[in-house]
Amino acid sequence: MKKASIVLILFSFGLIFTVHSWAQTPKATESAQDKKEGLESLKKLVQEIKEKKKIKVYAGTIKGILAKTISLETKNGTKTARISDQTKITFDSQSKEPKLENILVGQFAVALGEIDQSKIMTPKTLQIFSNPPVIKRKAVFGIVKSITLNSITIVHQAKGEETKINFDTQTKIKTTQEEAKLQDIKVGWKVALVGIQSTSGEILAKEVLLIPQDFSYLIKKFEGKASGSATQPATTSATY
């Protein structure tokens, strides 16, 4: 009985030792991993320092001007630019003298310069525009509901909104494999396109990608429902 107990104890210690060894192995790997991560973060830091020395652009609406510092409301939050004597200021309007005093809150500014550690830019160039740039292009997605000689009507598969898409001779049409023509398009196909939205809301297609499969089952749920104006955009993408 004593012998059996000794054997069992030895076996238990053996198992404990094995489990302990298993537990040790990942730690060794972790240490190597730590070193690798440390090197990576060092590389990243060097890259960041290099990046900071590069010329960057801040573009946004002027929110405030305080002495020689202007704050810009950009798409990614408020950015600060500090004007120096070397900053070259330009206006889109020729009549204005390129001086800091002529810059007004609400104007659109494009500042180009280096960014310091506190993320403040010292612009080399500061371009001032009366209005922000207008982007007439728009992204539109949908499933083809009907086709005419020079237009298609598509339905957004999630919202059910209908959009009329016009085509002209400049419109590029393609599948993922090859070039295509308006005559190739079939009801039920999925389309993704960029178009220019007119003031009436219609879209003139610039580039169209076709997915030549029948997706009409995705818009069946909208059949018979009031789906809004045919000129309503079928997507939520923003126009500036």
Partner: protein, 132 residues
């Protein structure tokens, strides 16, 4: 005495085996149980742009736009003057060489998943042939 010793040894051994089995099963116990008969969830639109970084200034007339999105998502890219439409690969990666105009290019990248979910990301890239 020997009986007590044997009993203690067996007890330690049994306890040890219990803990061994417990820790062996622990990762499986942590996995949340799957809920059957639930409606399939809509694929959440993912869009990560690896290149270019925002606010870049370049003297090259085009920029490589690359990133990751949902598998086979449709991707539309446009700026004030240019556009591109493409489909992401099976693993969701995509890449396109996008032309730039000589000024501020406000580039919008928007995707649509197979379920019709959309997400968009913007990049401001300034192209100038002149050295700044």
């Amino acid at each position: 005495m020997s009986r007590v010793l044997s009993f203690v040894t067996i007890l330690i051994f049994v306890l040890f085996l219990f803990f061994l089995v417990f820790f062996w099963l622990l990762p499986h116990l942590r996995t949340p149980p799957s809920v059957p008969n639930q409606e399939p969830k809509k694929e959440v639109a993912l869009l990560t742009i690896n290149s270019p970084e925002d606010n870049q200034v370049t003297d090259i007339a085009s920029v490589k736009i690359a990133g990751k999105t949902n598998p086979q998502a449709l991707i539309v890219i446009y700026s004030q003057d240019n556009e591109g439409v493409l489909e992401a690969s099976q693993d969701g990666s995509f890449s396109i060489n996008f032309p730039l105009s000589e000024r501020l290019n406000e580039i919008t990248i928007i995707n649509q998943t197979k379920d019709g979910e959309e997400k968009s990301v913007t990049r401001d890239i300034y192209y100038s042939r002149e050295e700044l």
